[in-house]
Amino acid sequence: MAVAARALTLPAVVEELLSEMAAAARDGAPIPDEHLLSLKFVFGSSAIQALDLVDRQSVTLISSPSGRRVYQVLGSSGRTYVCLASCHYCSCPAFAFSVLRKGDSLLVRMGRAPPPTAAELGERLRALVASFKSCTKWGFYYMWKQIVVSSL
């Protein structure tokens, strides 16, 4: 659907990773540890923040009958931010700082694409979290979050 060219979409490897995770979640299978660790490796602290957003159910997809969609994210401060679905944009200050101000991006090891916003990750992971509650890896997930957060 999107007109966005390669440079504006997530790198192919990341797309694959997220697709595999979403497929596993749909099947009800536990998310492999490697996937969660890959997520952390690729996105760094953004992955933790995204998972937090998903935990708190802060990501809302607003769609109109015309098919046009936009994401609304509720920040921890209580403010809502707008995140576009078709290209990399989020109205939150973190996006302005890390993506717009800096010349390079967090994903510099993957190429020159700007990193996905926390909301983008949140939407992708929303499908996963729905099944997390019954997932045997749920305990591990919390433990992993604790380990990773404390190491930052």
Partner: protein
Amino acid sequence: MAETLRRVLNSGGAAGPGEENTAEAEPPLLLLGVHGSGKTALLFAAALEAAGEGRGPILFLTRRPLQSLPRRIGAALEPLRLQKIRFQYPPSTRELLRLLCSAHETRGPAPSLLLLDGLEEYLTEDPGSHEAAYLAALLLDTAAHFSHRVGSGRGCGLIVALQTQEEGDSATALQLALLQRYFPAQCWLQPDAPGPGQHCLRACLEPGGLGARAEWRVTFRQDGEMTVTPWPTQAGDTSLHKGSSSGGQP
């Protein structure tokens, strides 16, 4: 929209059969040049070219109405094509944002090409702010929505013209770099040494990964007529190019 622009430039401004029609959408293109470098004329030529393709209408956004429609070769075909171009003149940034944000509420066939002339007139805040990114992203999102409505095929293209400064400061350079992240394809228009009674420009097209980089010489005569010829290559074999005569195209 690099391919559409390339067709315009390759055919020297005349309507000609395009190269193989790409089935997928083309990346958004940023048209850059200093004041008076022919951006509006080229944008309009692209509009006419796209209007002749038999797809949806063309949406042309600009701050002020065009004083005079740029002329080009093939003027006989223009009235039919002109009807397909819809002009809108959002007077302020806020109005432009409103127009883009409510694009999904408009009825009728979705445009096959979205053009914006004079992006710099809508970037009123300081270059360091969010505004440029928001505007660029919204333009992309609007074009993506139109593509979705059009359905299969090439969807809706996007070309935006931005006036650059000859000597900019670091803030405007940063803003330009930011915009270039949203527009993978770019075409630079640089003034060239003028001939007698002519205004010459060098157009350099960088399609952003799809297709080769190419250059043309764009000449405006005093009566406003625009002719386009391929830029002479290093070896200087201009006589071998089929479009090399600047007297006009059949």
